[in-house]
């Protein structure tokens, strides 16, 4: 997956819709607005990271990286919640975070590709299904794999060529379709 910065922000906002709904319900049920505030802070933190760090750091993002980023974001969100003195216990905040993360991942993996047919192939952006023109992107680096071949003929080719070549056992051709016409066989 090679999300663009815009794609990251689109996804972040859309995937936090269900967690926001969960936060709203919890706030209404408990009378504490800190649940929905926590989601608001998570959204701002996420957008800042998407725009300022991830887009620069992770041009290609393998699937397993999603969980690693979630762990990092939990740490940052926890510190922010403490600094802003939200009235949620550590256990409440952590459980709520992981419940929200699971909802966000469900939205991203299941709902968004159905909602937008080209969501995944448009670098996680919500685009009209069209032939669009987004920013440039660099290819992956080339990995060379030809040390041996670079060194010229090796023992196998040398033993099979030249004056001292070992004669090859006559065998039928490999083709499963063609055969030598009978009149051409000696």
């Amino acid at each position: 997956m090679c999300p663009t910065p815009v794609g990251r922000i689109h996804t972040r906002v859309a995937s936090l819709a269900l967690p926001a709904l969960l936060g709203l319900i919890l706030s209404l049920l408990t009378g504490r607005e800190d649940w929905i505030v926590l989601i608001g802070i998570y959204l701002l933190l996420g957008v800042a990271l998407d725009a300022g760090l991830y887009a620069w750091l992770l041009r290609y993002q393998p699937p397993w990286m999603t969980f690693v980023l979630a762990l990092g974001e939990l740490g940052m969100l926890y510190v922010l919640a403490r600094v802003l003195e939200l009235e949620l216990s550590s256990a409440e905040a952590i459980v709520f975070y992981w419940a929200s993360w699971l909802l966000a991942i469900f939205t991203k993996v299941v709902l968004l590709p159905i909602f937008s047919l080209t969501y995944l192939e448009s670098s996680l952006e919500f685009r009209r299904i069209d032939w669009s023109i987004p920013p440039a992107q660099a290819p992956l680096p080339v990995i060379a794999a030809g040390e041996e071949a670079d060194g010229g003929p090796g023992p196998l080719v040398r033993s099979a060529s030249g004056e001292h070549a070992v004669p090859l056992k006559p065998l039928p051709g490999p083709s499963g379709v063609h055969s030598v016409p009978a009149e051409m066989l000696e």
Partner: protein
């Protein structure tokens, strides 16, 4: 234009979307069209076969291919969820495909992906929409109103008409580079110079040369070593890329594809020549076989080419030349396998050649100079699209001949048709319902087949 196909298939076969060709590409156009809201009777597949995987299946069998090079997202369900790894994991009650997919080490097995294609084909009624039962030989632009295309077979018999057309005719003929082509034409050697995609058999004690450096070549190296024969791997370029996909991974995403489209035509062709010059995936099983073959003195790689081929006592006498033009010498070989893919020239496909001749379609460096929306100039227009997909369109979509690339083109072409026809798009619940129904049928079918061993 009214859709006038009768329920029994007789009468004029007029459709809104006509797909010329009956392979993977046509199935993906069909599924995308159904998913977005077109009705089956509005779509016509103009080809010979009702099984869209027939050609691929034969090639895969000949290659001895067991897994696809594609990754988990590349499969035949219309939308991108569930991925193939998720289907596989659910059907086999195993997390292994998910873990592999997370590490980009999951490749769908050939039997599994063909099973899914068969399910989608049947459930969406693809077979019933194959019209005419003949290969399209001619495309004629009709000015209308409304503007449309008439499709004729090779004998100039009218097969049907369509308002929008997608050319999905697949690859050109197999390629036999340099002296291999001439030698293959000699009946004394025809049976010894084969293509990786042809049926073939390697024998113990034989010595085989394999030309090429892509996935098909590596596959042949393994097959030859498995047979107990010697393998000399010949390639023309010094450094093939080592990656699992046909093009750099980010070129599979919209951003990469559109950046590619931002290049000039010449830059795109040059870029393709560079990135597609040979990519060989690093697969554990193959690596082990090749290492063992090398240790046994039965495998060797060399940079160079074949300069002459003659019949010899052991089968063939092959003269080898180095990359610098030097003469390496003559060796005996049992056979030569050309893993050099397909002829990319547009002129190798009669339909395209006629199109270029009749309508002055621009051709440059033997490739049709498509518009950035894969449209064929000057015939393509917004209200009656004529598009091309597959290898012939990789000057626009670099991975155009992969499942991911075919999907990319199919979706956008169908969306263009939907806009031109003011189609009422299928609702979200209906899309979800369709996708889940297809996924459920696929899962059921996957449970009945044996899991293919992963190579990575």
């Amino acid at each position: 234009m009214e859709v006038a196909v009768k329920p029994n298939g007789s009468g004029p076969q007029d459709v809104v979307i006509g797909v010329i060709g009956d392979g993977f590409g046509s199935l993906l156009v069909y599924t995308s069209a159904i998913y977005l809201g077109f009705k089956p009777e509005q779509i016509g597949i103009f080809g010979e076969h009702s099984n869209p995987v027939q050609t691929y299946q034969q090639f895969a069998w000949n290659l001895g291919q067991t897994v696809l090079r594609s990754e988990s997202e590349s499969h035949f369900l219309p939308a991108d969820w569930p991925t193939f790894a998720q289907l596989d994991a659910y059907s086999r009650r195993s997390v292994s495909p998910l873990l592999r997919s997370a590490g980009r080490k999951f490749n769908p097995g050939v039997p599994e992906i063909l099973t899914e294609a068969a399910i989608v084909t049947k459930r969406l009624g693809f077979e019933r929409r194959v019209l005419g039962g003949a290969k399209v030989g001619w495309i004629v632009r009709e000015p209308g109103p409304p503007p449309h295309f008439s499709l004729f077979d090779e004998d100039a018999q009218l097969l049907g008409r369509c308002k929008h057309a997608m050319i999905a005719i697949g690859h050109g003929p197999l390629s036999y580079p340099g002296v291999c082509g001439a030698a293959r034409a000699d009946p004394r050697m025809t049976d010894r110079i084969v293509q990786a995609y042809e049926p073939k058999e390697y024998r113990e004690g034989g010595r085989y040369l394999v030309m090429g450096s892509g996935i098909a070549a590596v596959n042949e190296w393994a097959n030859i070593l498995d047979a107990g024969a010697q393998c000399i791997a010949l390639r023309r370029n010094l450094h093939p890329e080592e990656q699992d996909l046909n093009v750099p991974r980010c070129l599979f995403d919209g951003s990469g594809i559109d950046a590619f489209q931002g290049l000039s035509f010449d830059q795109r062709v040059d870029f393709l020549a560079e990135v597609l010059r040979g990519t060989s995936p690093e697969r554990r099983v193959w690596g082990d076989k090749i290492k063992k073959g090398r240790d046994d003195g039965r495998f060797e790689e060399m940079i160079g080419t074949i300069t002459a081929i003659e019949p010899g006592p052991g089968g063939l006498l092959v003269r080898l030349g180095g990359a610098d033009g030097s003469d390496i010498g003559e060796i005996e070989a049992t056979g030569i396998t050309c893993s050099t893919g397909f002829v990319k020239s547009a002129f190798s496909l009669p339909l395209l050649r006629r199109l270029a001749q009749t309508y002055d379609v621009p051709v440059e460096r033997e490739r049709i100079r498509l518009k950035t929306n894969c449209g064929v100039p000057p015939l393509d227009r917004e209200d009656s699209r004529l598009c091309m997909m597959g290898l012939n369109a990789n000057t626009v979509v670099p991975n155009g001949d992969t499942i991911a690339g075919l999907k990319y083109i199919a979706r956008r072409f169908v969306a263009d048709c939907a806009r031109a026809e003011n189609l009422d798009l299928r609702s979200f619940p209906s899309r979800l319902n369709l996708q889940i129904a297809l996924a459920r049928s696929t899962v059921k079918a996957l449970r009945k087949i044996e899991r293919t061993k992963q190579l990575a």
